[in-house]
């Protein structure tokens, strides 16, 4: 688009951070998803970001894919659980809640930073429109 490069680049960043938020949300919501030991555990989702190289100044970022965490998860001894095997074990996903919460803050702040860039760029362009207005 040319004139609105800063805005569309920041927009691509917002899309990536929104995807990251979605992934964290999914990971946190499945934190206690228990499965029997003969099935793979819920696999954590990790967003893979990739820079878009288009021209010298770049063209933002995109989601290259979603990587998945360990399918082995961690075995927890819960004999009372109806899903437990004959030894009393169930499979929990291998997701660290504190790490997810930290990433949640990073994703939120990243999204907000890009939103600030959009606003600042718009203000900047509007300053250009004021040139010669009071002549």
């Amino acid at each position: 688009m040319g004139a609105f490069d800063a805005i569309s680049i920041a927009g691509s960043g917002m899309t990536v951070y929104r995807t990251w938020l979605d992934a964290i949300s999914d990971n946190l919501s499945n934190l206690s998803t228990v499965r029997p030991t003969n099935e793979p555990a819920f696999r954590a989702k990790y967003v893979v970001a990739q820079s878009v190289e288009d021209g010298a100044e770049g063209a933002g970022v995109k989601v290259a894919g979603i990587a998945q965490g360990s399918a082995a998860g961690r075995l927890v001894y819960e004999p009372a659980n109806p899903l437990a095997d004959k030894d009393g074990y169930v499979r929990y996903p291998d997701i660290d809640m504190s790490s997810q919460m930290t990433q949640l803050i990073m994703a939120q702040r990243g999204y907000q930073a890009n939103a600030a860039v959009v606003d600042r760029a718009r203000e900047t362009y509007q300053a250009a429109l004021q040139i010669g207005r009071n002549a």
């Binding site: 805005i7 569309s8 927009g11 917002m14 939103a115 959009v118 362009y125 509007q126 429109l129 207005r133």
Partner: protein
């Protein structure tokens, strides 16, 4: 929001009028205006781009109300791009009309 009324000035009728005044001035020293991309063409191009931006914004607005919008920021960004672009086009048009009026007021 329809902006088709703005495209009415695209044929650059006033530009032709401007180049016409050079001849009537009778000054032989005045060189013939070079036929580059005229202001009218430039303005028409920017009006076309403006229409494209408005169309994007409108499409996203429909997506927003029908619940098919993936990213909220896609719509707000498209809307603010369209708004800045329309301000720019309006500023250009106003300046052109102002310049034309200034020339029309010229007296010997």
């Amino acid at each position: 929001m329809s902006i088709s009324a703005v495209s009415g000035i695209a044929p650059a009728g006033y530009l032709d009028a401007l180049t016409g005044t050079a001849g009537t001035a009778g000054a032989s020293a005045v060189t013939a205006p070079t036929q580059g991309a005229g202001f009218g063409t430039t303005l028409a191009g920017s009006v076309d781009q403006l229409q494209a931006l408005q169309a994007t914004s409108d499409t996203l607005a429909v997506k927003a109300v029908t619940g098919n919008l993936d990213d909220i920021h896609d719509y707000t960004i498209a809307a603010s791009q369209a708004s800045v672009a329309i301000e720019l086009t309006a500023a250009l048009r106003n300046k052109a009309v102002e310049a034309f009026s200034e020339i029309m007021r010229m007296q010997a």
